[in-house]
Symmetry: C2
Subunit: 220 residues, 2 copies
């Protein structure tokens, strides 16, 4: 009984997410669903990436939080269009919530829309919002045992950003183990090692992202 | 419609959690529901606390994870009874899952049962499992903006353990801000600053815990 309720919710969401995706495609923008545990560095990454990319790409951001608008305020200071969704308790964003923001953006004037999901390594992986692909952040302070404990997130993501590598000297974390265990779950995963604090590794990520948006535009 | 389904699930869970709690009370054991983001240090804390307390208290552990039994294996090495629950996708433990472990423990031979919840700063706060109280861990690497973003967890907890204080020199985190914002949400919150790595602050937490178990036994 419980399972069938959940399935219905997931199926209904998939339909709405697909409609969102069709609209995004038609408008020619690429959409990323950005996920991580609380405090792994989603908003910090966006601040850095907006600074680095806004000369080349027109960026829009949707911020998902249970409550508060702190993250949207941080992003607004970067001078890009941003909408805050407050889920009011729900632990993930879904297709409907994204659809409700459509009036707030002019999609023809955006190349890249990033949806920052609620901080949660579990539920967001189950709900599409209309994204082209999912990107997850894992910070080295969370430990290197996460792929086997939260496999769905690693399986669903196209990119894994290993953040806070500036803290590697102070924590027990094996980059080799993470790489091996992540690729065992998802052999197609693209992995970047970054520090939003020092900037290390961000250039590779930005170059990759520029290329994705360019390829997407050429495909149309 | 969606809300009513969720409400029914929560109400049904509350009934089962209450039955669990009655049984725990009858058996004279204290039960803690331990919650945090992934990688904040729940299992590391348990390893330290078992070592420090097992001369005084008979401890049992329930490990909750979506998948894998790594945490239960770590705890088993400490020589205390432990049961692993794999939720198989569910992002939190509930009363039923805890009830299913009852055959695995002799509650009369345990003073303190700690239920380590799935790593998630959102959903576990909504589901009682039969605990006397909830304890949450926040690691300083997660940032000091968490109380306003995840208020339910702070509101539902009796204790906040601020972990990884050995990393304070390397991250932007204000202990004063966390204390102020947490107490604004929950004025009754008891706060400890700890490092599972260096051991700093753990003695205060263990003394507090010993006292809680003792008071509980005397109340019977």
């Amino acid at each position: 009984m419980k399972i069938s309720v959940v399935r219905n919710i997931l199926e209904a969401n998939d339909r709405i997410a697909q409609q969102n995706r069709d609209l995004f495609k038609e408008s020619g923008l690429m959409v990323i669903n950005l996920m991580s545990s609380p405090g792994a560095g989603k908003t910090s990454l966006l601040e850095k990436s907006i600074d680095a990319l806004k000369g080349d790409l027109r960026i829009g951001i949707i911020e998902g939080d249970i409550q508060s608008s702190q993250d949207a305020e941080r992003i607004a200071r970067k001078g890009v269009p941003v909408v805050q969704i407050n889920t009011g308790g729900a632990c993930h964003l879904d297709g409907n919530m994204i659809r409700d923001t459509f009036g707030e953006f002019n999609f023809r004037e955006i190349d890249l829309l990033v949806v920052e999901n609620v901080g949660n390594l579990v539920c967001p992986a189950e709900f599409r919002v209309g994204e082209d692909f999912k990107v997850m952040i894992l910070s080295v302070t969370e430990g290197d045992d996460k792929p086997t404990k939260y496999p769905l997130m690693f399986r669903e993501s196209k990119v894994l950003l290993i953040n806070k590598i500036d803290l590697l000297p102070y924590v027990d974390f094996s980059l080799e183990k993470i790489k091996e265990d992540s690729l065992k779950i998802n052999p197609d995963l693209t992995i970047f090692r970054i520090s939003c604090k020092t900037g290390e590794g961000l250039e590779d990520w930005h170059n990759w992202l520029r290329k994705q948006v360019k390829t997407r535009k050429e495909d149309r």
